[in-house]
Symmetry: C2
Subunit: 148 residues, 2 copies
DNA sequence: ATTGTTGCAAATATTTTGCATCAAT
DNA sequence: ATTGATGCAAAATATTTGCAACAAT
């Protein structure tokens, strides 16, 4: 556990959003200015295989990282791309239903599943749409942002 | 609908696996040798926004494409990375359960979800593991292949 | 003429890797 | 000494884009 690795882990843990490697790099760089991107990526890999963090696939080009390795669900915002945790408690009926349903699939050779939600994040849901003329629809999963 | 676009669509439709842009390019190139990768990507985009094909995010670095735009589920093979359709009929109880569960989430501002399964594809499930000594476990979703 | 599409090449973006050096056993 | 980790730069990968030429209205 080198200083670099510790700081990288701390920054993933402190991040409230689910940061990209680049965001982590920028934060770590404030504390260790000479750190390199390669070190960040290498340590994110190591921390992942240690089970300290999880790698999330947001459906966009960049990977995101999460220090919460417990089972929970993510919401990808169709407007801004932010990922946040879905506010469902592990005990809720929804999860039971899903677990039960998922269990039925083992007969097909399936032993895992991943569920992602799409909608508006807590920030965007309270923000009026930007382009007032354009009737810009919120995008569905398979239509990640085209504009820039 | 240019010849290029038609051929690209045909190749996505003919592919039984869920091909990557590169695989599509290689196939199209056999019929239109001078086609360029840019044209393939541009047309995959166009075809997607026409609703003719879907873009799948396999959790790996390359996008994959699917001409089946109807709702269905995918299994990503944890051993070889292949994507195949989950042999669940739309009417099966499992899907109903899931739909019901998913519907309960609208109160959180969630209007869509995507479910992916992980397991062994029909090919790998009938193949003995390769490395006999290494106890090489099948990998879980968040642990895409590390070896090469 | 205008519009949209192509092929090509160059650019972009993200992630990975080679390598000499450094740090800690 | 050996081992593993670092910083740096270069490479690799996947995708996107600028542009001149082409095709069809």
């Amino acid at each position: 556990m080198t200083p670099q690795r510790r700081v990288i882990l701390e920054e993933v843990e402190d991040a409230t959003n689910h940061p990209t490697a680049d965001e982590i790099y920028e934060k770590v760089r404030k504390r260790i200015p000479r750190i390199s991107m390669g070190t960040v990526y290498r340590n994110l890999d190591v921390l992942e295989s240690l089970g300290a963090i999880r790698r999330l696939d947001s459906g966009r080009s960049q990977m995101r990282f999460d220090c919460n390795t417990k089972e929970h669900y993510h919401l990808t915002c169709t407007r801004c791309g932010r990922i946040e945790d879905v506010p469902i408690q592990p005990g809720e009926h929804f999860v039971d239903t899903l677990e039960e349903a998922g269990g039925k699939l083992t007969k097909y050779g399936i032993f895992g599943y991943q569920l992602e939600f799409f909608g508006l994040c807590s920030q965007c849901i309270n923000t009026p749409k930007e382009s007032p003329e354009g009737e810009e629809k919120d995008r569905l999963p398979e239509d990640p942002e085209k504009d820039s």
